[in-house]
Structures are given as structure tokens and as C-alpha cells.
Symmetry: C2
Subunit: 145 residues, 2 copies
DNA sequence: CTAATTTATATCGTGCGCGATATAAATTGA
DNA sequence: TCAATTTATATCGCGCACGATATAAATTAG
């Protein structure tokens, strides 16, 4: 085997994503949020009344991951899940008043995180955009395989 | 909440890491390897006879994650786990003959992945290095929090 | 030498992420 | 109209990541 993990892009991504997750955890724990729940909350706060499928399209997750996560957020009183009256297959999601209040509290988290890294906002945006490019190149790679 | 997930660096990292994981899966599945097991195998292949702690230092994981993973690799016949005779607290890891053969087969996986992305090797190395820099900046961030 | 502390690994519980499958509602086709 | 297909969500099982805790061996203190 030629490459050790520290030489691999995949490991750099994997371990950095976990490190970022760990850096967010102490910011989210006082709010009672996990990191994936925070992302779902952020999506619903910026665009309410989504379906499970629409949320999954943004978060790149499917119902096998989202349904249990959303049920936990429903139990916590942050999200309502209601079957669409016109199409009973669809579940519509909305933030409760508590959910909106929590989202308002969580709004400062990305800024707090950026402050902790000491990175310029422009550097953060640049890296974000590079990662989106890489991610977009992986879909055709999967289709070929 | 100001930011939607698609605006966040943390989500770009998270979702891209999952997409890379998904792109590796079809390359690893024929070998019977999961993605974290592949990283452990790569580490042991490039530096055999490590302890659990040394492997964890490279992979940024602790025994609560590594012990079950290594037991699965031991059950598969790829890895041996033996208590150090001099210090019975330490578990030494080594690849079996089957493990070395598997590592040889897996050696082509990063190249196959790079080919699938269509990225230049230099671009891959650049992004890897940027991510390592970001990861290194997160440790002090955690210490402060 | 013994007690206290530190170190290395293991165990347990919880929340993802996902492949495989299930269920039920909507749509399509003959 | 009604059977076949498609679509949206849910369920199940497994492996990983990690906080909290346990265990046992080594080291240090007194």
C-alpha cells in the first residue's frame, strides 16, 4: 500500500469534518442540539414548510436518516411533522415557536466558530466553494462506477 | 438564522466528506472493507506493529471507536491483536498474511478514486494540505472553548 | 512497600448515515 | 376501472464516532 492516511485527500476530508464537528459540539451542546439537528434547524429556519424530501435534497440525506432525526426534534418540541392533505405521502415540516427561538439563538454559532478558527471570512468562503466543486465532481464519478 | 446549510463551510465539509465516502464505497465493497477499516489497513500497511494508541494518533480516533473496529478486522483475519509482554496495558497490532494481501489489492484504490474525480494529482494534494491546515487550527479552538 | 495517580485499552449507550426493504398513497396504462 | 408502476416516507440492522465510565497495569509519592 503506497499511501498512508495522512497522504490521502479522503482522510484529510474525513478527519477535518470530524474535527469541525467536534469544534461545533461545545457551541451546540448548551442549546441541546446535535450537529445534524443544527443543520436541519438552519435549513428550516431559512426556508420553512419544507417536505422531508426537500430537506433531504438540501442536506443530501434520505428518509432513513431524516425520519428518526426529525422525530427527535419533534419530541424536543422544535419541529412539527404533518401529512400533506392533498398528497398523503408527503410530510411537511415546520418550526414551532420554540424551534424558531432556538434557531435565533443558534444564528450566532457560525460566527463564533469562525472567530475560534481565526480564519478570514473570505478564506472560509473560498474553501467552502472549493469543497462544493469537489462534491459536484463526485456525482458523475458515482454514476460511472 | 442568517445562514442556510449551503452557505456554511461546516456543511460543505460534512457533505463532501460523506460524498467521498460514498464514492469510495463501491471500490472497497468488493474487498469486504468499510471506509474506516480501509484507513486502518492503510496505516498498518505503511507502518506495521503499531499500538492501538499510535494508530489512534494517526487516525484521530480513540479506543472506544478503534477497539470494536479492530476486533471486526481481527475476526475477518486481517489483523492480529496481542498484548505487549513488557507492558500489558498495550495492545500491538500487525497485519496477517491475508491483511497484507488485502492491503496490496487496496493500494490501487486512491488512484482509481482520483481517476474518477478527473482532478489533477496536484489539485488533490493542494486541497489535502489546505484541509490539514484547517484541522490544525481547530485544536487551539477546542482548547479555548 | 504501599497507596495514590496515571496510562492504555475496553465497555456501554446514543445518534448518525446508509443499504435493504416495507408501506401506503398517487399515477399510469390497458 | 383496476392492475401495475412510481413516489414519499418509514423501518430495520449494522458500523462508526464519541461521551462517560470501567478495568487493569504501570508509575509515582510518601
Amino acid at each position: 500500500m503506497a499511501l498512508a492516511p495522512s497522504d490521502m485527500l479522503c482522510f484529510a476530508l474525513h478527519s477535518t469534518a470530524l474535527a469541525v464537528h467536534a469544534a461545533y459540539a461545545p457551541l451546540l451542546e448548551p442549546l441541546g442540539l446535535t450537529y445534524p439537528q443544527y443543520l436541519a434547524l438552519a435549513s428550516l429556519a431559512s426556508s420553512d414548510d419544507q417536505t422531508v424530501g426537500q430537506l433531504g435534497a438540501e442536506l443530501r440525506l434520505e428518509s432513513n436518516t431524516l425520519t428518526p432525526l426529525l422525530k427527535r426534534m419533534e419530541n424536543a418540541g422544535w419541529v412539527s411533522r404533518t401529512r400533506d392533505a392533498r398528497d398523503e405521502r408527503v410530510v411537511r415540516l415546520a418550526l414551532t415557536a420554540d424551534g424558531r427561538a432556538l434557531a435565533a439563538k443558534a444564528a450566532s454559532v457560525p460566527r463564533d466558530f469562525a472567530d475560534k478558527t481565526g480564519l478570514a471570512l473570505s478564506d472560509i468562503a473560498d474553501l467552502r466553494d472549493v469543497l462544493h466543486v469537489l462534491r459536484s465532481r463526485l456525482k458523475p464519478a458515482l454514476q460511472k462506477g
